[in-house]
Subunit: 202 residues, 2 copies
DNA sequence: ATTATTTTATGCGAAACGGTACAAAATGAG
DNA sequence: CTCATTTTGTACCGTTTCGCATAAAATAAT
């Protein structure tokens, strides 16, 4: 797996670097971030960044992909089927808010919805990542909705596909509203209303 | 009202210009748009743009404000209280999609959610416009929800404030998904599910 | 040791960027 | 007609931008 490579070894960890890059893009967006800013944040000079990740767009796409993969992991964990659907949804929204509210300056929301949305028109590859991410997210929730219907947690005439999209819509709204500066309190109230909308009042 | 001004008269209509500016920002975002691009789109040279609207951020904020004002007008019209709540919501979503899907290249979604969200962290004034816009939108819908409860269109224990936020969440999701490239068909299905979620199945 | 290979660091360069100085043009005031 | 005022168009300024060319440094292979 890890054969020793021939030339001079890298002085940095690509994965750690990509995480730092993500932080910067997350706050400033793709177009609003310069390679110099990324260079400063990662402690790497531009040629090293270019050598490891390619041009700016590639670097951004790699950062998006890392976020997407991590998010799907968090989602899968939150949807633990040994819990009730109500608990699952509350966990999904709760963990999302933990991530969305982690910003230093202003709360930064969702990396994808907050920054990729802006680039999606001009950059087809960004649009594709965004679309795939949203669909994958919907799909995971839909599977849980289907299971919930089988278990009787949801009525028999439930449409898991559309109900999952409604559940995702709450997430999208949390993402936008976080970035608009809403308080945690306000956001948690919305999340709870979302859970009640789907699972009924407790 | 319109006193004749003293110097050389303007050769352009500021309102029309602002609409053209909006189109460009809508597709490319704030950071992704150059003054040269705006100059070309408006047929004005940069000094004229600067003289009429100030710097790039001011120009963007003016474009956002125009969009916000128009959107609130469309919303007020769609919420005609002589119609049922169900009809109102269907109209709100329908007109939103008409606007969101008007793009030439890819469908461009909501100007605010699609572009201002990206700048909201770094530019406080943009964040404020975004926040105020979302709140005003919620507020208009909440008024209609309150009326619906009084009329018996909604159960007596309805919380108009939170229900309005759920209705807005569907809008936010439509905005994001349009920009991600979803088809009109898909989006209309989500809109309809949203209406049913709030008003019950037809 | 020598060579091949890869990464690092400095720094270049052409283009794009936002903003403005300045003079010409077009209007109203006196 | 002359002057003050405002807009227009050209041209420019200093900075930033992205990408790369180049050489030094660090490793493995021979």
């Amino acid at each position: 797996m890890s054969e020793k490579k021939r030339g001079r070894p890298r002085a940095f960890d690509a994965k750690v670097t990509l995480e730092k890059v993500r932080e910067v893009f997350w706050d400033r967006g793709f177009a609003g971030t310069s390679l110099d800013t990324l260079s400063a944040a990662t402690q790497l000079n531009r040629p090293s960044l270019y050598g490891a990740f390619g041009d700016k767009e590639n670097l951004y796409l790699d950062a998006l992909e890392g976020y997407r993969a991590e998010s799907m992991g968090v989602l899968a964990d939150a949807l633990d089927p040994s819990l009730t659907l109500r608990e699952n949804l509350a966990r999904v929204y709760g963990r999302a808010l933990d991530i969305y509210l982690h910003g230093e300056t202003a709360a930064r929301g969702c990396f994808l919805i907050g920054t990729a949305t802006a680039e999606a028109i001009q950059h087809e590859r960004v649009r594709d990542v965004l679309n795939r991410s949203l669909n994958d997210f919907d799909g995971e929730i839909e599977k849980r909705m289907t299971l919930a219907r089988e278990r009787g947690e949801l009525p028999g005439d439930t449409d898991p596909h559309m109900l999952a999209k409604l559940a995702s819509a709450i997430m999208h709204s949390l993402a936008v509203r976080t970035r608009a500066g809403d308080s945690r309190e306000t956001l948690e109230a919305l999340a709870q209303s979302g859970v009640e909308m789907i699972c009924g009042k407790a």
